[in-house]
Amino acid sequence: METGWYPVALAEGLERGTSTGTRLFGRELVVWRDSADTSHVWEDRCPHRGMRLSFGFVRDNHIACLYHGWQYDTSAQCRYIPAHPDLAVPNTIRVATYPSIERLGIVWAYDDLDSDAPQDIGFAERAPVTPVRSLYIDASAAKVFDALVLAECPSLKDAGGATQRSRTDALASLKSGGDEILVAVQPLSDVESALHIVIAGSPDVHSGDSQKRVSAWGEALRREIEGAAGYAGELRHGVAP
């Protein structure tokens, strides 16, 4: 495991007032979005009894635990305990948090709890992007990258020439002419990964057909990685329209 920035969700899939649970290197995280549209990534554990906060409820600018309703504000500080409404909640009752940021239409977390993350996430913002989907694969992030460095960029609106590939620790770019897709790889555990896939370019251009093609491309990639050799040709030769 290497400390750094890792994707944890597609930003568009995380609606205001909702929470979801995910994992990073086997650790459980809650990802939630408050009423001001800010996303948060915390340890998925209420300090009270350890219940997953991802099972809780988001109301305005706080998330409440499903179990006893303890409420945490956007700084992860407990502000209200329903069983003791008059209690001055001590500032020692707070949830452990991961530094997080939204880039490329993806929520990223720095996998070091309660730390000061480096400002340099390793790549620049690229607006606009068109979100495609998240995919879950029974393979390590290393195996996913092994496949990505051989994969072809699917033909979208402006394909041209051989696929150019580049990558950082958690992000791969596949580019052909004016087409480019970005694949962020989330190590869920040693043997499981999630892909968060976006198209570089405006939804005005890529909504619809391009999203479907890239989605199918992602499924073919998953089949190849998971060992269904019969579908491997789709990656090499492009996905049929």
């Binding site: 003791h84 209690l87 001590p90 020692t92």
Partner: protein
């Protein structure tokens, strides 16, 4: 510890484990806690702070860490 409540836990304890648990919970609940007696059968903790949080502390410690078993909990006033 003046004005404190002494909570007496009886059961089977790994002393080191239970004392660490007590200190962690007291810190989280912003309570002053002092372990006054610690044996494999009995742990006495003097604790002071907001009454609701002392109650929460007692409840948390009654569950205890996985390698300890609390059979009984009682309170007594601290000696001054």
């Amino acid at each position: 510890m003046q004005g404190a409540t002494v909570i007496v836990f009886s059961g089977k304890f790994r002393v080191e484990s239970f004392v660490a648990f007590v200190n962690h919970r007291a810190q989280r609940l912003q309570l002053d806690a002092m372990v006054e007696l610690a044996t494999p059968e009995r742990i006495e903790v003097a604790v002071s702070g907001q009454p609701a949080l002392v109650d929460a502390f007692e409840m948390a410690c009654s569950l205890g860490p996985i390698d300890c078993l609390v059979r009984d909990v009682e309170r007594k006033n601290a000696s001054v």
